[in-house]
Symmetry: C2
Subunit: 625 residues, 2 copies
């Protein structure tokens, strides 16, 4: 271990740039795979892995049931790892939301899972089952369409048995036996039987890391989880730190890789001599002492004058793992904003985080922590934004947008607004005319996802899709007879039953009508009665601002199409609640279809009367509705 | 416009790979800057921008007050853009949270803002003030330490006046006049007077894009927001679409760039002939018709047999902007999971999103939307995970972690646990011994961020940092006299006053003691009385499971150090509430310091008695506490 003063550490962490030979080789490998496809992959697999089979896919039967071969304690340990990683990651994920940023302009952010993710699990002396769990769990929580695993064959050309067992416990059955840069090339190109990955995840050696960087540069190439480099640990220790613990933590990193980067920041009073002695003593007992000794020969000790200096060095180097063994370690943790993962206090060795504490162990290295995070559920997602404007929403805001387009000198942008305004003016709606009575309502719950757009001052269009055919038909009656534009789009849990869909659409429709009515100034109220063959229905509405529902009449039968007859009354109640209106319905007849349709038609007609602007006054002696 | 069938569109979007000359030039520029530093930047600025000044920083006085020169309507439009972008983005950001995944192992995710972000605003014919807003607002919402702007000088070697005004309205005053690949190189290296950026944001021409890709490859280099390419629009249109609207939307994209990618998916009944005629007619009127015509000559029309085919093409091409002008457009929007931004229905031209609807307009291009999102508040953040275990937490879980380390063949990992278990065994705590009474409590509100760790079965250590010196001293009394280990770390809103800090720490301490006590089996209850010089205090505790507090005695004066005297009683109430204990305090004396200290000491002594395990029974006739 080499020791320097913190004041002379500015050059530390300046990146070693001697990987260019490996980079060139990796680039050549993935480049040839991009040109030649599967045959190049097969050639490399033969050459580097000694793998001769035709395909790389592992048969499902090899994975299914593989967990049965585990000792019970091993199975329990793996299950505990899966559980705690899932518990911790379950809180993650991009937040989706809706926001009406201008009246009549509804904006939304939606989080979507990736369609296809390739998870690379390194092979080598032992299978990194923990790395597999650290990718498979967030991929599942994100809801990735297809997440498959690529890993090198073991020395017998097989899938490692412990890895197979872990895959079995995770329920991941799509696995390919392929290693190194050629595995990355095959994932990126979607050749040799592997699906093309939208994003490639996973740690790996220098060839794998270089190949990932390379394919991520291709236009239209896959994204990657992180720019990867050799693993790193930094320990900050003061006089309260146990030198034996510190030595053990440094060695736990050193055994990974001869290139592992190991840094010890010593505060005043830390016993460096005891720590060096412990390093020698503990190293002698390690099975992987050769690797660890090589890494330790490059390890760096930095003497820091005080805590602030140590915090400064930590923030600058942005270590993958930071272990804080000082008094008040949380106080240091709060001030280090660039580390991948932080381990606080004497009883938190990095090993906890490497396996099963819960947080992800795939973390940024080589200073990337200044801007990158470790792998998260968000790593397996992307966000889309959606915008939907109503005609009045557009008309009201267009002048601002046009002014901005003109400031940037983009006239065609402004023209795309002008041509729409011209169309609206033909209908009598100009951007300078009176405000239009329209609304967009988004209602998203675990059961339904609904968008409803109403425009009371246009007679159409009307487009309705709830997934319940008869209900679509009924809502169309309301809009057509009501004489207003209505757009309803609902994705509901129809696999359970149509109840939520019918109810929630009625609630959202009520809200949309209520919002479109605005201050209800100048509107009529009251109702309508109509016959339909043998049936007869009357609907009386008072847009009073107060919900109240009365439903009289018994409709025979259980359902019409998928529409449960009993939901008829429910719809009127939900509507009344959100529209904030008294709605009374009376229906007579024999045929359920006729009776229900008569109710909805009468509702439309009653609404047509009620929403009509008659004069400039509020239709109430109270002066407010 | 060239038309093909969707079934023959598989090759569409295969990336053009003819940028390599530009890539090589950009790489040479940033490479030389990396070697030579500022002098290289100055050389390129002279050569490419004709810029001769010594430094690149714009004087603050040029920006401050620049908004005053705007016409009022322009100022209003820019402010409206800033407001709506802020409104939409305010909902974003990584969620931080805590989770105790194993008893005694507290895990946390924390969202940190980047320290330093470089925002590139392209110059050219007109200043992209909207791009500036799309970066500056999320950077501010994330809380980026330092976000600075780099933009090319205008033809007079100055900062464009409209851009200056927008910077003024945004309150961004750190600006450098530098363009192209050399700007990216200077940001990445932190030379020529620019701070080194942790991440580089912003659109730009092909040189800028190539330079960003290049510096992102450097080990320890900056991250970038997105792999950028020419701008793209895709319109899906059916028979309900107005061909004039569609033509206007295609042209609004075409005027950006001769390389802009324009795709029209036509469903059955869309009037292609009318659309082509509108394209010719509208194009003739555009100031930028030369650029637009060149882009339109490469535009592609794809005839789709049905909506599903169109959705398939859209998902494969992952367009930056997708405009849906069909019946039930939301139904298509739901199924496209790769677009950057989606514009729904006839009244939502892309121009809304380009400027001021709210969502970000910096979006993935060239197929990157399969895995990348547009710019978000999260783009300006990173996450860190933190783990803290108590000694008992480690002891309880160590066997699982060691088993996992051994399965992976990493003995030094297991050893870092074994050495700690050995230390604990010396204290009589083995992993197989009786459960220890310890707890970690995290309590995070807008006012305070607190971590408290107690271990009732160890007499130390004790480390307390609340920011209120006297309170630290008092809590230390409790731990020392109580005979248990206590670690308190609080960051509170002391700039307001110490009230929240004192109260919340008492609440968290009560909760920690309560959780550590577990089922309260075998504990004693009752209390203690002690003198301190002229003062005398008694504290009687019943760890009954029910909160109740009595405080008798009047302490003179307003405060001791920063500790308000009146908070003394408050602390005991808060503690009682969360500890679920009856606590009665009686204090007499003359000196406030003495009286308060006597109370806390007596509390410690009373706790020492009360938490002692006396036998195996519950100290209540009820049999449960």
């Amino acid at each position: 271990m080499r020791w320097i003063e913190a004041s002379k550490s500015a050059a530390v962490g300046a990146a070693a740039d001697n990987l260019s030979a490996i980079e060139a080789e990796a680039a050549a490998i993935v480049g040839r795979i991009r040109q030649e496809g599967s045959s190049a992959v097969q050639d490399y697999a033969r050459r580097f892995d000694g793998y001769e089979a035709d395909g790389f896919a592992v048969e499902k039967s090899i994975i299914s049931g593989a967990a049965g071969a585990l000792e019970e304690a091993d199975r329990q340990a793996i299950m505990a790892m899966i559980r705690s990683v899932a518990t911790f990651h379950a809180e993650q994920g991009y937040r989706g939301y809706q926001k009406e940023t201008w009246p009549g302009i509804m904006c939304e952010r939606r989080a979507d899972a990736l369609s296809c993710a390739g998870l690379y699990v390194p092979g080598g002396s032992a299978p990194l089952i923990s790395s597999l769990v650290m990718m498979a769990i967030p991929a599942r929580l994100a809801g990735v369409g297809r997440a498959y695993v690529v890993t090198p064959p073991d020395e017998n050309g097989q899938l490692n048995a412990v890895l197979a067992a872990t895959l079995d416990l995770l329920g991941v059955h799509e696995v390919y036996l392929l290693g190194g840069a050629q595995a990355v090339g095959a994932m990126a190109c979607g050749v040799a039987g592997l699906p093309r990955a939208d994003k490639i995840f996973g740690p790996g050696n220098a060839w794998v890391a270089a190949a990932k960087q390379c394919v991520a540069q291709w236009p239209g190439g896959p994204a990657i989880d992180l720019p990867a480099g050799p693993s790193e640990v930094m320990v900050i220790a003061d006089d309260t730190a146990d030198p034996a613990f510190v030595a053990a933590d440094l060695l736990a990193q050193a055994e990974h890789d001869p290139l592992a980067r190991i840094t010890l920041l010593a505060l005043d009073g830390f016993d460096q001599t005891a720590c060096e002695a412990e390093l020698s003593r503990q190293l002698a007992n390690l099975p992987r002492r050769q690797i660890a000794a090589e890494a330790m020969s490059q390890a760096l000790g930095i003497s820091c004058a005080d805590r602030d200096e140590a915090i400064g060095v930590a923030n600058r180097l942005a270590p993958e793992h930071l272990i804080i063994q000082t008094r008040l370690p949380r106080d240091i943790a709060v001030q280090v904003r660039t580390a991948g993962g932080i381990f606080i206090g004497p009883w938190t060795p990095e090993t906890l985080g490497d396996y099963a504490a819960g947080p992800n162990h795939i973390l940024p290295t080589g200073g990337a922590g200044r801007a990158w995070s470790g792998v998260t559920v968000e790593s397996f997602q992307r966000t889309t934004t959606l915008i939907e404007a109503t005609a009045p929403g557009l008309a009201r805001s267009a002048s601002t947008f046009m002014r901005l387009a003109e400031m940037e000198g983009l006239e065609a942008h402004a023209a795309s607004l002008k041509i729409r305004l011209a169309a609206l003016e033909k209908e009598g709606l100009s951007s300078t005319g009176p405000a239009r009575r329209s609304a967009i309502v988004r209602r998203v719950t675990k059961e339904t996802d609904i968008t409803i757009e109403v425009d009371l001052d246009r007679s159409g269009p009307c487009a309705i899709s709830t997934g319940v055919g008869f209900y679509d038909h009924m809502l169309e009656q309301v809009a057509r007879h009501g004489g207003f534009a209505l757009n309803v789009m609902c994705r509901g849990d129809l696999d359970i039953d149509p109840h939520h869909t019918i109810e929630d659409v009625a609630l959202a429709l009520g809200e949309a009508l209520s919002r479109a009515l605005g201050d209800r100034k100048g509107i009529a109220r009251f109702g309508f009665e109509l016959p339909m063959d043998e049936a007869r229905a009357g609907v009386w509405i008072d847009l009073s601002g107060r919900p109240f529902a009365v439903f009289e009449g018994a409709i025979p039968g259980d359902s019409v199409g998928e529409f449960p007859v009993a939901m008829t009354e429910h719809v009127f109640r939900s509507l009344s609640e959100q529209l904030k209106a008294a709605i009374q319905v009376k229906v007579e007849g024999e045929n359920a279809h006729h009776m229900i349709e008569a109710c909805f038609k009468a509702l439309g007609r009653a609404l047509r009367q009620a929403i009509r602007i008659e004069d400039d006054s509020i239709a109430s002696t109270k002066g407010v509705l």
